[in-house]
Symmetry: C2
Subunit: 513 residues, 2 copies
């Protein structure tokens, strides 16, 4: 068999079942192999940022990698932003990037590109296949690398002749690496620290934000009085009624400092020590108090849930502890969009077991605590600051979980980076309600300009305003086969959302705010 | 003054007048400086691939760089594909890429990124500013580097504190580097070679494709019988009635081999020796015959026009030689889209002094010779194989040349990569007629799959088909404020194009083919 077929067969043998793709000429033999090898569902994205964001959303919900297929350096280039979000979420992804035949590369043709250099900026593993014979083994190594805890992007560069040459065979699947356990001494030491009774906080991320991790963290909180927080962005979190409500460290530096004020012991559980998303003149980079000691229970590549459970046991916490239920009560509200009223309305409407993909920027900052009282759901979020994440992440999540409703919360300015995802939603008939917050401006930048003490002038007015011309999201959605409605009040939103909730397939609600 | 203001003032002092931008938080001080410093027109793109393609189109038509403004690594990442096209066109561009404050970078925050590594893949010059005090000089060096013949992308990375710190001053503009002259011995030697009368060909690119270069090349052809050709992609070419018609080396390898067959001397003038755009099993990479000698009159960074004129003089060619006029005659055709009929119809309708931006892929391959008989015009083209170029390149060209009509020829699959450019066209009221060739498939890939001898199967049918759901370009255009009409016949196309030609502002014609 040729290299391309050995590659496809290896991916299937390693348990992959989905390939998000935007192929080009140099990938033809691989596409032809996919025609012959059953087991990989091919999902087309019309721009590579969509393909990458899909793979990220898929990985976060499926808990395993999808393959992607990109065309040479420029194809991978278009994917970099959402691969960066995936990197920050530790989402496992196996990139296949086509390149010129090995012997053709000396000629510096129009598409010649330093793909390895490009791939290294977002990948935890990069390899260029040297021949068809080793391609199967390369693919197995790529899957293993992507799955190495905490998960990352493995990029396999596929020269065209390695795909078309004969004499290859599938690679044997390699053992999936397992997250290392935390040493008992570390657990004992932190139990001693927390027993001191001094004001403490656990900062939770990664797998600690699943239902089991949160329950264990709540046992620790119950036993010690420690507060619980997540970083400003969470890759995936189990939330809703009956689950442990944990708030984020705020994005705004002053608000974050206030949250951490008085903390004497900060315990990291798969999270980094909290720092400002950006630096600002005269404000600190690090957000914990000067007299606070930062500890690490477990780093993100370790067994976070096991570590939390060991800590809870060491502290003698009861197996079952009450979950705080003093959360904002879901309730339908009316009138124009206001963050709080919207959040409570959404909480009232969110269907059981939904997946929420959020990149709502300024419209979404308040949503996190307001929706604790909603039906149980998973929340995935932009993690690397590369906006334009929710449309494709929701798309990938819906591919991973065809039986769950996906609710995509997308800011309008951010949504314009990856609107092509709507076409894939329509193509695959994915069960997604997209909500676009149409404030028709880069509101975050207006806020940031004010934050640096500057007055708006001609340039900033030109660069932050999205109202000239008005973007009509209903037309954009319909142009890509997605039904859409524009609403201007919470009553109308509730009506349309309720109806969209009961039908299947993609839908878009443009909320003029 | 702070660093940001010194940067803005330096760019203006160096002759820049346009900044294509998609800013973020870390660029706020620079945006604020642009509010205070007159002379840089800010043009917003809603995705960075649009910003980069605009800067490319602008540079090719203005003959000088625009500045761009990108937000951190992901922002530059989204721009890589069209910066790659610009690199292959040797278009001068000055990228400003915001980054975290220098002291904040140790914290590996969500947006931390190896921007230098990313920038190197497409830039001829990369520098990270070290302090506000040196920022003005850095900016002047960036402009000089971008303008160094043949032109390239200079990327200046701007840590936020270098922008906001005080104590800076504008950098003094540096001398614009001049293209080096070709040594007289080289010219004399090539004149001897061409006088041999053996079958010869001049392969012309870069500045040789301007009106003066082409006239000089025609003098050489007249004196020696040498044929003239351009590479498969041209960055910019002066064409139309009264100008020297020169055809491209075909994209398809067998057709290219046929064109070069029998050539004994191949003379490169700013072009590379011709090789296949891609490699194919059993076909050669290099396209010239085995017994052909490849010579170089001038490399792309040298004075190509001067070299051609010196060669013509050395050969004793008359100052004025006839321009071949046996070109296809422009004529209105009817019926459904066919490449030849469309090309002749377009040639009949093209307004005087138009700029044509072409990324029409399979629909456009035949257009080049069919439009030789049109009114005089400039033709700019995708040069790096990163499709999705014409929408933004046309947008940038229209910003550079507000008094000229721009005709954008965009394939539908390619157009979906950068459709957001239509919004900028509407925002800036740019005088562009966009023609979208809606064949609703990646037709080039269907051809390439056949070329590798494979039969279409389930995966390739899924990955090459754009008809499920149908993309409605009229809705997409209207959603971004651009009027649009769908046509299905050449008669209707001619009617709508004729009317669009006489109005100002952007318009889109979706040609269902």
């Amino acid at each position: 068999m040729n290299g391309a077929e050995s590659l496809a067969r290896t991916l299937v043998a390693c348990g992959l079942d989905t390939c998000f793709a935007n192929p080009g000429t140099s990938e033809m033999h691989f596409v032809s192999a996919l025609d012959r090898v059953a087991g990989l569902r091919c999902v087309l994205g019309l721009a590579e940022t969509v393909v990458a964001g899909c793979a990220d959303g898929y990985a976060r919900m499926a808990g395993k990698p999808a393959a992607t297929l990109f065309h040479c350096g420029p194809g991978l280039g278009n994917a970099i932003a959402n691969l960066h979000n995936a990197k920050r979420a530790h989402a496992p992804i196996v990139n296949i990037v086509g390149d010129h035949a090995t012997y053709h590369q000396v000629y510096d043709t129009p598409l010649s590109f330093d793909i390895e250099g490009l791939a290294r900026t977002v990948s935890s593993w990069v390899r260029t296949s040297a021949s068809a014979r080793t391609l199967g083994a390369d693919a197995a190594a790529a899957v293993q690398a992507a799955c190495r805890p905490p998960g990352g992007t493995a990029t396999l560069i596929l020269p065209a002749d390695c795909a078309w040459d004969e004499g290859s065979e599938p690679g044997a699947p390699l053992a999936a690496p397992v997250a290392a356990a935390v040493a008992p001494e570390v657990v004992k030491e932190l139990a001693r620290t927390l027993r001191s009774g001094l004001p403490s906080m656990l900062l939770l991320s990664g797998a600690a934000l699943g239902e089991r991790g949160l329950r264990a963290a709540q046992r620790v909180a119950h036993a010690t009085g420690a507060k619980l927080r997540t970083p400003t962005q969470v890759p995936r979190m189990a939330r809703g009624r009956g689950r442990v409500p944990v708030d984020r460290i705020p994005y705004v530096v002053d608000a974050a400092l206030k949250v951490l004020e008085g903390t004497q012991h900060l315990v990291l559980v798969g999270a980094k020590a909290p720092v400002g998303f950006f630096a600002y003149p005269g404000k600190p980079s690090t957000l914990w108090p000067k007299d606070c000691t930062v500890h690490e229970l477990a780093s993100v590549e370790q067994d976070l849930v096991g570590a939390l459970e060991a800590l809870a046991d060491e502290l003698g916490a009861p197996r079952q502890v009450p979950v705080p239920d003093a959360v904002p009560q879901p309730e339908l509200h009316g009138g124009p969009f206001k963050p709080e009223a919207f959040g409570l309305t959404l909480a009232a409407l969110l269907p059981e077991n939904a997946i929420v993909a959020e990149d709502a920027v300024t419209s979404g900052r308040a949503l996190f605590p307001l929706t604790w009282g909603a039906a149980p759901h998973d929340w995935i979020q932009i993690t690397g600051g590369a906006i334009g994440h929710a449309f494709p992440a929701a798309t990938g999540a819906a591919v991973a979980c065809p039986d769950r409703k996906v609710v995509c919360l997308q800011a309008d300015g951010a949504g314009m980076y990856s609107l092509q995802a709507l076409w894939t939603q329509a193509r695959e008939k994915l069960d997604i309600v997209n909500v676009v917050f149409a404030n028709r401006r880069y509101a975050i930048l207006q806020g940031e300009l004010a934050a640096v003490g500057a007055q708006p002038g001609p340039a900033s007015r030109e660069l932050f305003d999205l109202s000239r011309p008005e973007i009509r999201w209903t037309k954009l959605a319909e142009g890509m086969g997605v039904e859409a409605v524009r609403v201007e009040t919470l009553e109308a939103f509730a009506d349309v959302f309720t109806s969209a909730r009961t039908r299947r397939g993609p839908f878009l609600i443009e909320f003029l705010i």
